[in-house]
């Protein structure tokens, strides 16, 4: 009898797996900000970073507002063997994640990218540096990976500059914001961003979290991380309501909005409620010409991680059908702790073509890659 320790538990899975996957939410980190991001940051801002760090508009300045589900919010098996934070080592990400799950397209969504920094000029400089870093360390080395244009979204003019800097650059497939903005997202101060995205046909992804300064729930600052996590659904509903009701999709009908990491099963009930109240109060906002749910179906996509886990899988079937199978994008959130495994999510039954769309083709069509 021989006894082997398991060196690569993923190998067996990868060999038996044919399905090609698009992962619409991967989080890369620099091995070291000084080594990898500083080369793209002016000296003035390097000094600023060294002196003050990245100060966000939130009441907890030393790290996240809540303890994460695991240290560094990461899967405990995602630490690169050569050291560094999870998500900081391309070679390890390739074997541990991309190869293992046959990921053909991976969308990089950098966090700690300068978004939400209180100093708007520093936010813009840091976002630009993080965008350059994505090219240098990730997308230029691994063609399966595509970057996100991080924008200092609290300042629309600076954000538009950054979007326009990257227009036509094949390293990027979307512009990137965080959900918890300082004003509801349909507010006019953000409109130039939507105009720039629509004009240049760049989808706009909006990821859970963010540092707008408002409490993370409609009822104030809760006590626990679980409330922070379920709060993303509230924040996403706020943003969709605001964007639809302010008439953003009426002004820029081609704008593509992707809700990332905030769940999706709430979308049907939000649509029903918005439609009902719209029917009753339509005269207040005549610029919203159609029922709000129609804009949701036309302009909004959702990444599916963290997946919904109802006791009965069939309950999700209706949800998928209301949203549209073509509007749901698979994502893992690698290397974070609430990672979804493509083979283990309780996906409703569907034919092969629909599954393929869900796991790959929807993303390819949306991003045009």
């Amino acid at each position: 009898m021989t006894v082997e320790t398991i060196q690569n538990p993923g190998a067996a899975i990868a060999a038996g797996q044919k399905l090609a996957i698009a992962d619409c939410d991967i989080h890369p980190s620099p091995k070291s900000v000084e080594k990898e991001v500083f080369p793209y940051l002016e000296k003035r801002w390097q000094d600023h970073y060294n002196t003050y760090g990245l100060l966000l508009r939130q009441p907890y300045q030393n790290g996240p507002a809540y303890p994460k589900g695991q240290p560094d919010a990461a899967r405990r098996d995602a630490y690169p063997p050569n050291g560094g934070r999870p998500g900081s080592d391309l070679a390890f990400m390739q074997t541990h994640h991309l190869d293992r799950y046959n990921i053909q397209l991976g969308i990089l969504n950098p966090l700690r990218s300068g978004q939400g920094l209180q100093n708007p000029d520093f936010a813009a400089a840091y976002c630009k540096a993080v965008n350059d870093w994505q090219i240098a360390e990730w997308t230029s080395k691994e063609p399966r990976l595509k970057g996100s244009i991080c924008i200092p979204y609290e300042d629309a003019a600076l954000s538009v500059q950054e979007i326009e800097r990257r227009v036509g650059d094949p390293n990027f497939v979307q512009a990137f914001m965080l959900i918890r903005t300082s004003e509801p997202m349909g507010n006019r101060r953000y409109w130039p961003i939507y105009e720039a995205c629509a004009k240049n046909n760049i989808p706009l992804a909006v990821h859970a979290f963010g540092f707008g300064g408002s409490p993370v729930t409609g009822g104030g600052w809760p006590s626990f991380y679980i409330e922070d996590m379920v709060g993303h659904a509230q924040s996403a509903q706020n943003l969709i309501s605001s964007i639809v009701l302010e008439g953003v999709f009426e002004r820029w009908p081609s704008l593509k909005l992707i809700i990332v990491e905030a769940g999706f099963a709430w979308a049907p009930s939000l649509g029903w409620r918005l439609d009902r109240v719209w029917r009753q109060n339509r005269h207040e906002l005549p610029h919203v010409k159609r029922p709000p749910s129609e804009y949701m179906r036309q302009n909004v996509w959702y990444t599916t991680q963290p997946f919904e886990e109802p006791d009965r899988r069939s309950h999700l079937k209706d949800t998928f059908e209301w949203i549209g199978w073509d509007r749901l994008l698979f994502a893992t959130d690698y290397p974070h702790w609430d990672f979804d495994d493509p083979q283990r999510i309780p996906l409703p039954r569907a034919d092969a073509e629909t599954r393929n769309a869900f796991f790959l083709q929807n993303a390819r069509d949306l991003y045009g890659v």
């Binding site: 009898m1 006894v3 082997e4 695991q70 899967r75 405990r76 098996d77 702790w337 979804d340 283990r344």
Partner: protein
Amino acid sequence: MAKHVVGAAKDVPPGERLRVDVAGTPVVIYNLGGEYFGLLDRCPHMGGLLSEGIQIGLVEAPKPGCYSYDRAGEIVRCPWHGWEFDIRTGKSRFDPKRWKTRPVEVETAEVKDAQTIDVAQDGLNIVVTL
């Protein structure tokens, strides 16, 4: 069912664990204060490797405002989504009837004719029945 010698008992002292592949099945063996317990090394949720998870104690609240902490090291927390399993039974803490990982029978025995190199020729070995 067959018995498999997977290692020398002295190499897995109390508080330690051993991850082994037993005839193609991933198994993690824990030593809790001198007693050995085995679990299928695959979380029933999405398949995270329990052997990569930390061992914690059992925090419970018999009623709100009153907390207990005991059985230090006897609960394994999945390295992915943090589900907790009782190492002695493989059952999850939040729904032990429905969600569990398979317990694997482990004993220690002297095995004289063991073929494997990393097994003690004198002293106790860890033997898995699978």
